[in-house]
């Protein structure tokens, strides 16, 4: 990973992303009640998976709950 040409002006990059995130949030907020239930179930399922995640190799600090 040598000679990386870093972006000189990141302002536009982040503006585009923030706008996209707002659009996504607005879309999710406007879905039907049944779709909201599906999304909530999915988030709960992802949270469970994340909770069961296990750090196998760390270059700094371990997951606090595993100390």
């Amino acid at each position: 990973m040598t000679n990386i040409n870093y972006i000189k002006d990141t302002k536009k990059f982040w503006q585009t992303r923030e706008k996209a995130r707002r659009n996504l949030d607005a879309k999710r907020a406007s879905v039907s009640y049944s779709e909201k239930i599906i999304i909530a179930d999915k988030l709960r399922s992802d949270a469970r998976l994340l909770k069961n995640g296990r750090i196998t190799s760390s270059k700094s600090s371990p997951k606090p709950s595993q100390t």
């Binding site: 990973m1 990386i4 040409n5 870093y6 972006i7 990141t10 990059f13 585009t16 992303r17 706008k19 996209a20 995130r21 659009n23 996504l24 949030d25 999710r28 999304i39 999915k42 988030l43 709960r44 399922s45 992802d46 949270a47 998976l49 994340l50 069961n52 995640g53 296990r54 750090i55 196998t56 190799s57 760390s58 270059k59 700094s60 600090s61 371990p62 997951k63 606090p64």
Partner: protein
């Protein structure tokens, strides 16, 4: 939508050389280190050699019929935002120094809690400040301060923001 399915797809991207490496960041990393939050998208910090490779990444998914909306690529129905390493040296190091992790048999990488805090300091929206406060006690302060010192600049004002969060806590 499947987070685990998205991880499998990301690992395939790495195997195929579409991306060189990646690490999970954003809300999903916050959920890993702290508590569940409402987040709809998966932020993936990705090592890409150039802006051209970034465009090719979108092309790769477009050719396979993936849904693309704004900056989001829908992988296994999950909106994924790729944040290339060439945004800044901070992003590059966050991937290089990410933790290796296993989620029920699927291997991946996730930014360390200290890098996660510093990435949140760069964004510094209200929700980021709240997340920083929740993560702060779990972080290694020496590692955190070292990262802040290494990557502080006028644009991000990391140290100034760090002090402000401490003062507000």
């Amino acid at each position: 939508m499947s987070f685990q399915g998205a991880l499998v797809a990301l690992n395939e991207l790495k195997e195929k050389g579409v991306i060189e490496d990646y690490a999970i960041g954003g809300g999903y990393a916050v959920m890993f280190y702290d508590i569940p939050i409402t987040t709809y998208d998966l932020d993936v910090l990705a090592v890409l050699p150039s802006e051209d490779a970034f465009h090719k990444l979108y092309e790769y998914f477009r050719e396979r019929g993936a849904k693309i909306e704004d900056v989001y690529i829908f992988i296994k129905d999950m909106p994924v935002q790729f944040l290339p390493n060439y945004i800044s040296p901070l992003f590059n190091s966050a991937i290089e120094e990410a933790n290796e992790i296993e989620f029920e048999g699927v291997f991946s990488k996730i930014v360390s809690i200290e890098y996660l805090i510093v990435l949140l300091l760069t964004a510094f929206r209200l929700k980021d400040k709240i997340r920083i406060l929740r993560l702060f006690d779990k972080a290694n302060k020496n590692v955190l301060i070292d990262i802040i010192k290494r990557f502080d600049n006028d644009q991000h004002q990391l140290h100034k923001r760090y002090k402000k969060v401490l003062a507000d806590s």
